[in-house]
Chain length 206, copies 4
DNA sequence: AATGAATGAGCCTTCATTCAT
DNA sequence: TATGAATGAAGGCTCATTCAT
């Protein structure tokens, strides 16, 4: 997939990657705490360990930071999921493992995901679309896992889409509805029960 | 439930209500368009039909407007749902009608709900908690509907909680994941399929 | 002539005029001292006697101030010249009086004119054209004076244009070449000699 | 005349000259386009073909560039005029040729001259005076041409000064009042008519 | 009660200049 | 000599909030 390019004054590619990673790390920690709008570029620079001038050597606008953050979060999630998928052969067991891994990942990254959900809208059109495409990719990953793990099950494509979406947001829900859910469920319980009902939905007996 | 009080300089209660409704209406329309942070108090005042000075006679800070908006949205949703519930006697049919009504409501109010999801975090602690309580109330409504409609089904409380939450966010998902879902489903299809799988989850045959 | 409108948040027309005059006065004094680019908006606000916030209630950008200044200078010059013209009937004497008055005016306003010459280029296209039109008007005034004062002299239109332009810039030259001219001439001497040669150019004997 | 020294870290004289000429060429082209203040040192470096670090090996401040540019422009004009003067013996014809050559030169270099007029004021005192001296020299050249070409004409020194100044600015006027003049005159017409009236001023019959 | 002019803290961004390599 | 990454002071502008009328 074509990667949206954020322009930088600095030419050295490695340095750009290094500084941007510093930036992303600093920014995420600030966005978690106070959101995008309440975080100033100076704070981002400071938290990243360099001056405001340096910050602007690596981006063009504050929004670029948000985009970098969103992009990085999705990239991480995607890579982690791909890792799990690569480890097994398609089967019901694999399906359950992937969903479990996804839920665990959402638990680990709940703050990052929260940030994304609340701030994507602040991105300009083009960047927003890029991020949505990333999300689309992730739902597609789940869809393919379902299809490949249940080859004979004859679920319609639309239903697979629906179920994949449901799984996707059930994962996110764990993070951004934590005030409600995490009072009543431990992560494992949550995963177990969701998997239990997923099996029912897919007519899989155990 | 105790209502969080927003202070106003104006004493006439009716006038306060009238002006605040103007404000909420104006603000929602602006927040939908550009979000809370990008909307200025001047714009809210203008859209509401009065001056910036007057705006500040009825609230203390810009955040108060956001709170009023969030509160109003939940209140509307809750009232609408209660109306549907009041119309029928508990039964599987009622359960399906309530869920259907809730999904339709989320379709109607998708922009309002989107606003809320993205901006609640900007509220101060206390206001945030108030809004979360409202949400809690709504999940509880769904929970009670499930329980009263399926008295003999022996679903554990935690599972009911989980299922209610799932329904709750499946409704919201329709709105804030519209870019993905509304390309592939019509509202009715979406509702039908979700209800179909809900029946499976609840072991209800038709 | 259509006046280019500078937008203001403040509605009260009289107040806008009053504040803008304060602004123009303050700005001219600063521009004289350090030029447009080296003057900050904060300084303009302070010199004008109000806060930076108030400054921006009456203009949209710093450039607006420059435009206001340029516009005001031309307007003053034009009005002063019209006054002189209105006082007499066309004749060689009147021509000399107008030219003399113009030179004296340029002496009085030499700093303002200097500012204009050096900063007009900083204006955006549209504003620049507006200012150039003003200049055009002034050359036309001189042209008409020449024509009406010397009805039988049969100077071609192009030559009148040229001579009017020469007078125009000889006036400005007194101000912005002051380092050279004002070392060697007193204002009266300068005017006398320029008038002397103007008479030769126009073939008028005295 | 003593040349104002711009300090350089680099010792090799030839290299300094070479790099500075690159700089002047690059800077003039940028100043023409956007003025001194809107041009950044980075842009100057890039346009000159070297890095920002290198730029600062050959100058101390951005203003130095402006000075170098102004100095170079005057030097060019002066040299070109001297060339014309050297080619002929003093006579009315020579006077006309010099004036014509000067006007043609001003046409060729109108953008450079415009730059100078609008930016000299940004120079610091000392540099400004140096540039003004250059201008003084040029007026003196014109003065001497008039005197040597019209030995018996008995024009007072002050009048010669005045006339030389008038010629000087009529030349510049062609460039920086181009929006008005160049709509109505072709260069040749402009020169012809100015020369025609100059002859009248000097009482020379043809 | 309503108005809207005034305020100024604070934000994003730029850019001349330096300095380690 | 040449490079270009780093710096941070400073600038233009916004906007929530106040207060005199």
């Amino acid at each position: 997939m074509e990667r949206k390019k954020i322009l930088s004054n600095v030419k050295n590619r490695e340095l750009v990657m290094k500084r941007r990673n510093q930036m992303i790390k600093g920014a995420i920690s600030l966005f978690k705490e106070k959101g995008f709008h309440r975080t100033t570029t100076r704070e981002i620079a400071k938290e990243s360990g360099f001056s405001i001038g340096t910050l602007y050597e690596y981006i063009r606008t504050k929004e670029d930071v948000l985009f970098l953050v969103c992009d990085s979060i999705y990239e991480q999630v995607k890579q982690r999921l791909e890792l799990v998928i690569a480890k097994e052969v398609p089967s019901v067991k694999m399906l359950k493992n992937v969903v479990r891994a996804y839920f665990e990942l959402m638990d680990e990254m709940q703050e990052e995901v929260l940030v994304m959900y609340q701030e994507v809208k602040s991105l300009e059109k083009e960047a927003q679309e890029y991020v949505l495409k990333k999300e689309r990719e992730m739902v597609d990953m789940l869809k393919q896992v379902i299809e490949s793990c249940l080859p004979e099950h004859n679920i319609s494509d639309m239903d697979t889409e629906l179920i994949a979406n449901n799984i996707f947001i059930q994962g996110q829900m764990w993070g951004f509805r934590r005030w409600i859910l995490q009072k009543q469920f431990k992560l494992d319980e949550y995963i177990d029960r969701q998997l239990f009902y997923l099996m029912r939905v897919l007519l899989i007996e155990e």
